[in-house]
C-alpha cells in the first residue's frame, strides 16, 4: 500500500467513509430487493476507495459531479444517510425533496453538484464549475467522476480541450470498473484512455483504484497543483463493481465470470485491504474497527427506518421548482 502524509484521524475517517458507502449500498440493495425502493439503482460497492480517496483530498468548497452510480460519491463528499435514504425513497426530506431519486441525488451544501442519468452528462457541468472558480479568482477545484463507458461520449473531448486551453482547475476522474453495462471495456474503448487525455496536453495518471491511500496521495498532489493553476488533470482509476450494472442485473455470466468477481472480492477488496493496513500499522485495533463498523450499521438502520416512515412530498409540490422564482408553474396566470 502506498504511503501518505495524513494522520491517524484522516486514516480512520477514510476507513469509516468506505464502510459507510458499503453499508449504504447493502442497505439500499435490501430495500430494492424487498420492493420498498421505487425505480432502479446502481450500486457502488467495490469502488469505495475511488470516491473516498478522491473526496478526502477535497474541502467542502471543492465540488464534484457524480454519475448514475452516485451514492458512493455522495457519501464520500459528506452527505448524511437520512437525507440520502429519504431521497432514494422519494420522500420530502430527501436531498432533492424526492424529486431526483437515486440517479439525481445532489448535495449542494457539501459541493456535490449531483448524480446524472445521462452517461457523461456532467462533464460539461464539472468543467463549468471549474470555469467559475477561475473566473472568480477562487482556488477551489472540481472533480468530474465518470465511468470507462462514458469515455465514448464526445463531450469529454470537447470539454477537455477547453479545460486544457484555459488551464481550468478540474480533475477528470475515470472510474474504470471494466464494464459499461454488460460490455467489457476493451470492446468499447479503442487505444488508451490516458493517452486520449494526454493528446489534449493534459497530464494523466493511471492508479490502482482499490488502494485508497494511493488514490488519496495522488489526488492531494493534483488538487494542490490545480489550485495553483497547473490543471487540468486526468485520472484513470482501475476498479471493479461487485454487483450487476443495476440492481436487477442478476445473471451476469454471459459477460463476466464468477471467478473474476470472486477474485476481485477476495483479493482486492479496498476495505479489507485498508483495514489490514490500519491494523498492521497500529492505527486501530480489530476491536476498534469492529466498533466503527457496528456504529455505521446502526446509523444506516436508523436512517432507513426514519426514511421509510417519512412523508412524501405534498401533491402541490408537483409543479413547484419547475422555475426559480415561480412558486407554481401551472398556476392559472402562467399556464
Amino acid at each position: 500500500m502506498a504511503q501518505t502524509k495524513t494522520n491517524t484521524e484522516d486514516y480512520l475517517r477514510m476507513y469509516a467513509q468506505m464502510v459507510r458507502i458499503r453499508t449504504f449500498e447493502d442497505t439500499a440493495n435490501q430495500l430494492y430487493l424487498s420492493a420498498k425502493m421505487p425505480g432502479l439503482t446502481h450500486m457502488y460497492s467495490g469502488e469505495e476507495a475511488v470516491a473516498v480517496g478522491i473526496c478526502e483530498a477535497l474541502t467542502t468548497t471543492d465540488r464534484i459531479t457524480s454519475t448514475h452510480r452516485g451514492h458512493g460519491h455522495c457519501v464520500a463528499k459528506g452527505a448524511a444517510f437520512k437525507e440520502m435514504f429519504c431521497e432514494l425513497l422519494g420522500k420530502e426530506e430527501g436531498y432533492c425533496r424526492g424529486k431526483g431519486g437515486s440517479m439525481h441525488i445532489a448535495d449542494q451544501f457539501n459541493g456535490n453538484l449531483g448524480a446524472n442519468a445521462i452517461v457523461g452528462g456532467s462533464m460539461g457541468i464539472a468543467t463549468g464549475s471549474a470555469f467559475t472558480a477561475k473566473m472568480q479568482g477562487r482556488d477551489d477545484v472540481t472533480v468530474c467522476f465518470f465511468g470507462d463507458g462514458a469515455t465514448a461520449q464526445g463531450l469529454l473531448y470537447e470539454v477537455m480541450n477547453m479545460a486544457a486551453l484555459w488551464k481550468l482547475p478540474v480533475i477528470y476522474a475515470c472510474e474504470n470498473n471494466g464494464y459499461s453495462e454488460y460490455t467489457a471495456t476493451a470492446e468499447i474503448a479503442a487505444g488508451s484512455i490516458t493517452a486520449r487525455a494526454e493528446a489534449f496536453g493534459i497530464e494523466a495518471h493511471q492508479v490502482d483504484g482499490q488502494d485508497v491511500l494511493a488514490v488519496n496521495t495522488l489526488t492531494q498532489d493534483l488538487v494542490a497543483r490545480a489550485r495553483k493553476g497547473e490543471g487540468p488533470f486526468f485520472l484513470e482509476l482501475m476498479t471493479y463493481r461487485y454487483h450487476g450494472h443495476h440492481v436487477g442485473d442478476i445473471n451476469r455470466e454471459y459477460y463476466r465470470s464468477k471467478d473474476e468477481e470472486r477474485d476481485w472480492k477476495d483479493n482486492r477488496d479496498p476495505i479489507v485491504k485498508f483495514r489490514g493496513w490500519l491494523v498492521d500499522q497500529g492505527v486501530a485495533s480489530e476491536a476498534e474497527i469492529e466498533a466503527m463498523n457496528a456504529e455505521i450499521k446502526q446509523d444506516a438502520a436508523e436512517a432507513v427506518e426514519y426514511a421509510l416512515n417519512a412523508r412524501y412530498p405534498a401533491e402541490s409540490e408537483v409543479d413547484m421548482h419547475v422555475y426559480a422564482d415561480i412558486e407554481h408553474a401551472l398556476a392559472p396566470h402562467t399556464a
Binding site: 421505487p38 425505480g39 432502479l40 422519494g90 420522500k91 432533492c96 425533496r97 424526492g98 424529486k99 431526483g100 431519486g101 437515486s102 440517479m103 439525481h104 446524472n116 442519468a117 445521462i118 452517461v119 457523461g120 452528462g121 463507458g149 462514458a150 465514448a152 461520449q153 464526445g154 459499461s180 453495462e181 454488460y182 460490455t183 470492446e187 468499447i188 474503448a189 443495476h246 454471459y254 459477460y255 412524501y312 412530498p313 401533491e315 409540490e317 408537483v318 409543479d319 419547475v322 408553474a329 401551472l330 399556464a335
Partner: protein, 331 residues
Amino acid sequence: MREITLSQAVNEALAEEMRRDDTVFIIGEDVAEAGTPFKVLSGLVEEFGTGRVVDTPIAEPGFMGLAVGAAMTGTRPVVDLMFGDFLYLIMDQLCNQAAKTHYMSGGKMRAPLVVRTNLGATRRSAAQHSQSLHALVAHIPGLKVALPSSAYEAKGLMKTAIRDNNPVVIFEDKLMYNDKAPVPEEEFLIPFGEANIKRPGTDITLIGTSSMVQVCEKAAEILSCEGIEAEVIDPRTIVPLDEATLLASAKKTSRVIVVDEGHQSYGVTGEIASRINEKAFYHLDAPVLRMGAMDVPVPFSPALEDLTVPTPEAVAEAARRLMSGEMIHAA
C-alpha cells in the same frame, strides 16, 4: 389468435425483416448478447451475428451519424436508442442530416433508417429516463413518426418503418413491453398514415397516442357504463397523420379530446386539436380538449410522478364535462 408481448412483437418484426433483406442491421448499446436492458432483442445476435446486431460504445451522436452514412450508401440501419430521453443527443444527426438528406440533394440521396426508441413515465425513472419526446421529431420535415399502442402495432409499424425509404422514428411505450396482444402468425404490415378506430362510438371522440390509447379505452369503458359512447381512435403515426379519419369522427361526434403522453404545451395535442378545429370547426359543439403530460420535468417520487400523466378517470371526467356542455375554460 395467438397472443405475444410487445417485446416479442418487435423482436419478430426485426427478425423477419432481417431475414428478408440482408441490408438491414441493428446498431446500439448492448443490443447483441444482452439484447438491450429491456431484453427486447434477445436471440437476434444468435441468428444474425455481431456483424448485423452491432454493439456500440456509449456514443449516441456517433452511432446515429454512422447510421445516416450507412443508410445513404445502401443499408437499412435500425438504430437502437435505449431511452427516448437520449433523443436530445442525436438531434443534430437525425434532424440536420438524416431528415434533410433527400431534400438537400434534390432527391438524389436518401437515408432509409429507423430509430427505435421509447417513451413513457410512471416507471420511477426520474426526469432523464421518463420523457415522451415524439413532438420534437414530429416537428421536423423529412422524418416520419410512429407510435405503436400494442404488440400488434409494434410489429406491423416496425416492418413498415424498416421498408420505408425515409428516416422513421418509432417510439415504443416502455411500460408495455410485457403486455400481450393478439398478433397474427402470418406476415402483415401496417401502412403509415392510417388511423385505427379502436372502439367505435357516437357521442365523443377520444384520440389517444401510444400509451394513451389504453387510457382512452379505459375511459371509454367507464363512460359507456354511464351511457356515453366514446369513439377511440389511435392515429398510429403522427407523421403522416390520418386527418381524414380524425375529421370524420370529429364531425360525427362533435366533441373531441386529444390525449398524448408528451408534455402538453407546444406538443402533439396542439397540432391535432388545431387541425380538427380548423377543418371541422362548424361541426363542433365544444372546443377540442387536450390532455398531455403535465408541463413539469418528470419527478422521481411516486407520490408526484403519477400526477403528471393523464389517467382514464381524468379523461372520463373531461369527457363528462364536454358532454354536459359545462366548459370550464370557455368563459
